[in-house]
């Protein structure tokens, strides 16, 4: 009954347009009315979902969604008494300058709206958890249930986090504006941190194939590129995009068919995403064009060194160790020190690696981090100290980790126990 050649929906169209509509309407209404912007976007999606199954997809689905949300916002302002005194002003704001958007002739202005929204969501007045949740909800178009799934949280917890963040934005009058020149660097850095937190949240290995996790990684990558292509662009933004693209390229190879973790060195390089590798290298080249060397640069350089090895036996560990040494001078992150210790083993052997791990043993930030005892276990096993290795893997299994990580540790433990059955 539907003629062939009728429009089909672009992948993730609803999710993407939801974010763009919220950014656009909030831009017109101001950050005090985020909820109205969200409700209008949600209503547009609902109406589409309930009418398109019968009427088919309209010729311009994006325009349909924008128009429906816009109409809903106007009628909502008119009929909701909360707005009474401000209603006329809000309707006027909604009507001013809406036409070019409704005609879908304003890509650039939509990108600016989106960018302002990103900066608002990543405002330093918000705590990191709230920044990430708000960015995913308002910019990414993810639902609170989806965000809860990504962070293994309850939808009610996420809902609370979002409500609090929006209240803070209202009360503290966090505006939807680009940061001023003086604050630019700090604000951009804050955005980059949030984007990478978002990326890492999606990247963490978890049981079951939940495609939403890949979507989150790609959304973080998209936001990075959005910032990189704007007037806020800077070499360190390019470096972060390079880092995320090179890491995301490995997503298809990270788990085997049984859902078990595959170490970087054992991954099937043919399964890596070539387009993302190419994207990563092009951003990496751009990032090193200037003078600036940020932490993102060094992280990206490490990812690039892994990606440029023709095979896992040809990884340039000496260069990677050099990058880690450089990184250690820029940050006091114990996770960086831990990762460096792993590379030390490749370059200088297990004894040196153990020495590099020793100062980390009492580190508070790594108390519950399974990779510290797991790495110790790995190094101790290489030194033939099997009893201690076994104890380390058992300690690792006591930490919080995901099911694939748990199974990985159990395999390591089994190997060590087999070599030393008496223990």
């Amino acid at each position: 009954m539907q003629e062939s050649g009728s429009p089909v929906l672009l992948e993730h169209l609803f999710r993407r347009e939801c974010g763009r509509i919220v950014a656009w309407l909030a831009g017109l209404l101001g950050s005090a009315h985020l909820q109205l912007a969200e409700d209008a976007a949600q209503e547009a999606m609902l109406r589409a979902a309930q009418t398109w199954p019968f009427q088919g997809i309209p010729q311009k689905p994006e325009a349909w969604l924008f128009r429906t949300a816009h109409n809903y916002a106007i009628s909502s302002v008119r009929r909701t008494t909360v707005f009474s005194s401000k209603a006329d002003a809000l309707v006027a704001a909604l009507e001013s300058g809406a036409q070019p958007i409704l005609d879908l002739d304003a890509e650039q202005s939509l990108r600016d709206d989106e960018l302002r929204m990103v900066f608002m969501c990543c405002h330093p007045k918000l705590v990191p958890d709230a920044q990430v949740a708000l960015s995913l909800k308002l910019v990414g178009g993810f639902s609170k249930e989806e965000i809860a799934r990504i962070f293994f949280s309850e939808p009610s917890t996420i809902a609370q986090r979002l409500v609090r963040a929006k209240r803070l934005i209202r009360e503290q009058k966090v505006a939807l504006t680009m940061p001023s020149k003086g604050q630019l660097e700090e604000r951009v850095n804050s955005v980059l941190k949030v984007i990478y937190l978002m990326f890492s949240g999606g990247y963490a290995a978890h049981a079951g194939e939940d495609l939403i996790r890949v979507d989150v990684c790609l959304e973080a990558l998209r936001l990075g590129r959005l910032v990189a292509s704007s007037s806020m662009g800077a070499p360190r933004v390019d470096a972060l995009v390079a880092l995320m693209a090179l890491q995301a390229a490995r997503l298809p190879a990270r788990m085997d068919a049984a859902g078990d973790l595959v170490l970087l060195e054992e991954q099937d390089r043919k399964a890596w995403d070539d387009d993302l590798i190419a994207l990563g290298f092009s951003y990496f080249d751009r990032s090193i064009a200037g003078e600036e060397i940020s932490e993102w640069h060094v992280q990206a350089a490490i990812a690039a060194t892994y990606a440029s090895a023709a095979s896992s036996t040809e990884i340039d560990w000496v260069s990677i160790l050099g990058h880690y040494d450089q990184l250690m001078e820029m940050t006091d992150s114990p996770v960086v020190a831990l990762n460096r210790a792993v590379v030390v083993m490749k370059v200088h052997g297990a004894e040196a690696s153990l020495a590099a791990l020793t100062p980390l043993a009492g580190n508070n930030a790594l108390q519950k981090y399974h990779l510290l005892p797991a790495t110790q276990g790995h190094v101790l096993a290489a030194l033939g100290r099997l009893d201690e290795a076994r104890a380390a893997f058992l300690a690792a299994l006591e930490c919080d980790c995901t099911l694939p990580e748990k199974r990985f540790l159990q395999r390591q433990l089994a190997t060590v126990s087999m070599l030393h059955p008496s223990s």
Binding site: M1, Q2, L9, H12, L13, F14, R15, E17, C18, Q42, M45, L46, R47, A48, A49, Q50, T51, W52, P53, F54, Q55, G56, I57, G141, F142, S143, E145, E146, I212, D215
Partner: protein, 113 residues
């Protein structure tokens, strides 16, 4: 072949729980089903209160429908061809509507002249 009308009632609350991504997936599945050869017609209904006409004593009363208050609103209908109720039910089970409301299936009456 006999025709059947499928009346789709939507549960607004269930729809609201879907994320934009999930809604899009639903739309795509509905449309894939709608394009199957046994579907011969259908239309969506405007989501408002509609009007209800009924006798009130000797008068006729016209009211706005009760639909907005009820949990399930009829969102539209499809007409399909099927050999019998069994087949009509079987074909309807593929509509991604389960969990989002109810489907009422009625055979279209045909007069033999």
């Amino acid at each position: 072949m006999p025709q059947y009308v499928l009346l789709l009632h939507s549960d607004g609350e269930a729809w609201k729980k879907l994320s934009p991504e999930e809604m899009q997936k639903k739309v795509e599945k509905y449309l894939a089903w709608r394009n199957k050869p046994f579907v011969v017609g259908g239309a969506g209904l405007v989501r408002d209160t509609g009007r209800v006409i009924r006798a009130k004593g000797d008068d006729v009363s016209v009211t706005e429908g009760p639909f907005s208050e009820s949990a399930e609103v009829m969102g539209g209908f499809y007409t399909i061809e099927a050999a019998g109720y069994d087949e009509a039910v079987k074909l309807s089970l593929d509509i991604p509507h389960i969990g989002l409301g109810t489907i009422e299936i009625r055979q279209v009456m045909v007069y033999n002249t």
